[in-house]
């Protein structure tokens, strides 16, 4: 039975088997109702079962359990069979702040269409709205997770899909709330189209590999919108991270691809659009950094290619610490930032090529759209502010303007090789 069932989850694997095999499979599926497996069990007022737990106990792997509208307060619901668990008209599973609401302890479980709320709070075993324990091929989709300690928690999961969930919590302090989507020691996850707010970290990855995060919205979380730790070979595309306590952090990780994301309104001294710490071989392309205190903050970062991003109206477009090397920053737009670039030392081991800087004042005689005079993106005042933050109060005064202008003509305090040799004359259309 389980053998047949797994094929429903890997439909593509049947392609290589030839026509005969496919036909047999089809036949098997057609016969399923008569074989007595994969039956549908209904739960709700006036249905076969009034409560969920007895229905689950009566079910077998391959069955579908459909829960009708209503509120179900049955403590901790454990799913330990490969079933499809469906909510009809958004039934409510309530943990009354005493229980983990749903625990998944079997492979190939689908849970869809529930409102899951009020999980318990415990820092020792981290209860969640839905928690997956060492299981593979889990689908968690179209649920509304409301006011849980952790929203969705995956631990030792492989090939899981978390899609179109709305996850809302009302955390006040970092210690008293868990993460929206928390993934730990997992592989090949797909996190798609979720909407997370009010948790500690919107999406949290630790030791998660070969996974993709796509089209999620993570906003107003207490700490990070997205938090990566030790998670290699992952990618995140087209997400929106807004107004999180500290922005997005990617740390201690190799081979991360970050494309087409929007990072905006992450404000505060320790808030970054994107914080990169001990990262190597990443690719950052086509992102938009808008109105952050720091667009990108890089520390101990190596061999990263940052291209075709747009930095708009940030306090600092990029803060590149002296511990970074062999990074290439090319073809980006820097517009309306207070400071385009800042650094904390004199050592520069990174390359800037063909970026557009709205503060560039050079000319282009041969009209090839490349400025003929190199541009020094590091202003003297950004160095001064780095050493002496209260000096920020003097920004835009005539004195500071004069200092900056004279430094641009005769660089003495700013590192000489911090330079874009061929800045663009016009902004790229990004």
């Amino acid at each position: 039975m389980t053998y047949i069932f797994t094929y429903r989850f890997i439909p593509f694997s049947s392609q290589g088997m030839g026509f005969g095999c496919e036909a047999k499979l089809l036949l098997l599926f057609l016969l399923l109702p008569y074989l007595g497996i994969g039956k549908t069990i209904r739960v709700g007022q006036g249905q076969q079962f009034v409560k969920i737990k007895p229905a689950l106990a009566a079910s077998h792997s391959g069955d579908t359990v459909v829960v009708e509208k209503g509120t179900y307060s049955e403590g901790n619901i454990v799913i330990d069979k490969a079933i499809t668990f469906l909510g009809h008209n958004l039934p409510v599973l309530d943990g009354h702040r005493k229980f983990e609401v749903v625990s998944i302890k079997s492979d190939s479980v689908t849970i869809r269409g529930f409102r899951i709320q009020h999980s318990s709070y415990a820092t020792l075993d981290d209860p969640g709205g839905v928690k997956v324990y060492e299981s593979n091929h889990i689908t968690i989709a179209d649920n509304y997770l409301y006011d849980n300690f952790f929203g969705i928690y995956i631990q030792y999961g492989k090939h899981c899909l978390i899609q179109n969930n709305k996850i809302v919590a009302f955390g006040k302090e970092e210690q008293q709330i868990g993460n929206g989507i928390h993934c730990w020691k997992s592989d090949s996850l797909q996190i798609i189209g979720n909407n997370v707010s009010g948790h500690r970290d919107g999406i949290y990855f630790e030791f998660v590999t070969h996974s993709v995060i796509w089209r999620n919205v993570s906003y107003s979380n207490i700490r990070y919108g997205l938090h990566f730790m030790f998670s290699n070979d992952d990618a995140y595309f087209t997400n929106l991270f807004r107004n999180n306590g500290a922005g997005v952090a990617v740390m201690f990780t190799k081979n991360v691809v970050m494309m087409n994301n929007t990072f905006e309104q992450n404000w505060g001294d320790a808030a970054y659009g994107l914080l990169l710490k001990e990262i190597s071989d990443a690719y950052i392309q086509g992102n938009r950094f808008s109105q952050n205190t720091s667009g990108i903050y890089m520390e101990g970062t190596n061999r990263i290619l940052v291209e075709k991003n747009s930095f708009e109206a940030n306090g600092w477009g990029m803060k590149i610490q002296a511990s970074c090397m062999d990074n290439t920053i090319q073809n980006n737009n820097f517009t309306g930032n207070t400071f385009d670039i800042s650094t904390n030392g004199t050592l520069v081991l990174n390359t800037f090529n063909n970026n557009y800087w709205d503060k560039y004042e050079g000319y282009d005689l041969n009209k090839d759209n490349l400025g003929d005079v190199p541009y020094h993106p590091l202003s003297l005042f950004s160095v001064i502010v780095e050493q002496n933050p209260p000096a920020m109060l003097l920004y835009r005064s005539i004195m500071v303007m004069l200092l900056d202008k004279s430094e641009k003509i005769l660089p003495s305090l700013t590192p000489e090789n911090f330079i874009d040799h061929q800045p663009l004359m016009h902004a790229l259309k990004l």
Binding site: W267, G268, Y395
Partner: protein, 255 residues
């Protein structure tokens, strides 16, 4: 009193310098907004105008005007008019004409291109700064009978407030960089009207950078309605104190 104000106002308009000032401001402002692709850069150009040109024109023009009106003032004094009324009308007439010049020259392009809170803030601050420097001009004009000396004092004061003061503050921040001086900096900024004005605009223009730790200290002060009201109150003090001191001296001055 209103007749004297009207008289002075018309006299200044006839003088054509204020007219030229208005055209100059308008030229700068319109070109700044139409040449740059975003209105923020236009606002920055205007900010420099407000911090540099507006105080200079206000203080110099007013000082020279007061000295040149010495005979007119003496004539008025021979009439049964209070000294206070003469001095106040002179002040109001000058302030009014320069403020009108600023509003017509720079205000209209601001309202057309950047009718945001930053733009309105700039408009308000430009007007206040004008009046502040008219008041300072009254003080420096009353301090000396000698015209050259009076104008010299005006130029020195402008130089001090516009440029030297910031240099001094920068020097101080480096000298005391080991101490938590953020709050003291707020106090020190109150010592220059140009500084307060600049910071009030800065908090709107560079809001992202100002949300950093140190900036947040400033933002917590200037950004709150109390701090906002307080900084405007200090700007008003910058009008009231120099003018009242000059008024006191004028009342007792042997002309």
């Amino acid at each position: 009193m209103s007749r004297i104000i009207k008289f002075i106002f018309i006299d200044i308009l006839k003088n054509r310098i204020v007219l030229l000032y208005t055209l100059l401001l308008a030229g700068f402002a319109w070109s700044a907004f139409s040449l740059e692709d975003n209105s923020t850069k236009g606002l920055l150009t205007l900010l420099n105008l407000i911090l540099l040109t507006v105080p200079l024109v206000s203080i110099l023009f007013s000082t020279i005007y007061i000295y040149n009106s010495a005979e007119f003032i003496e004539l008025l004094l021979s009439q049964p008019i209070q000294r206070k009324a003469i001095w106040v009308s002179l002040f109001l007439g000058l302030s009014l004409s320069l403020v009108v010049g600023f509003v017509v020259g720079a205000g209209i392009p601001i309202l057309v291109y950047a009718p945001s809170d930053v733009g309105l803030m700039m408009l308000a601050i430009g007007c206040i700064i004008t009046v502040v420097f008219v008041a300072i001009a009254f003080l420096s004009a009353i301090l000396s009978r000698d015209k050259a000396k009076g104008i010299g004092i005006s130029i020195m004061l402008w130089l001090y407030f516009a440029i030297l003061f910031d240099g001094l503050v920068l020097f101080l921040t480096f000298q005391f960089s080991d101490y938590p001086i953020e709050k003291a900096m707020i106090g020190i900024s109150a010592l220059s009207p140009i500084d307060i004005s600049r910071i009030l605009i800065l908090l709107h223009l560079d809001v992202s950078a100002m949300m950093g730790y140190t900036g947040a200290v400033f933002k917590d002060f200037f950004g709150t309605s109390l701090g906002f009201a307080l900084s405007f109150f200090i700007l008003l003090l910058w009008i009231a104190i120099p003018f009242l001191v000059s008024l006191r001296r004028f009342k007792h001055k042997d002309l």
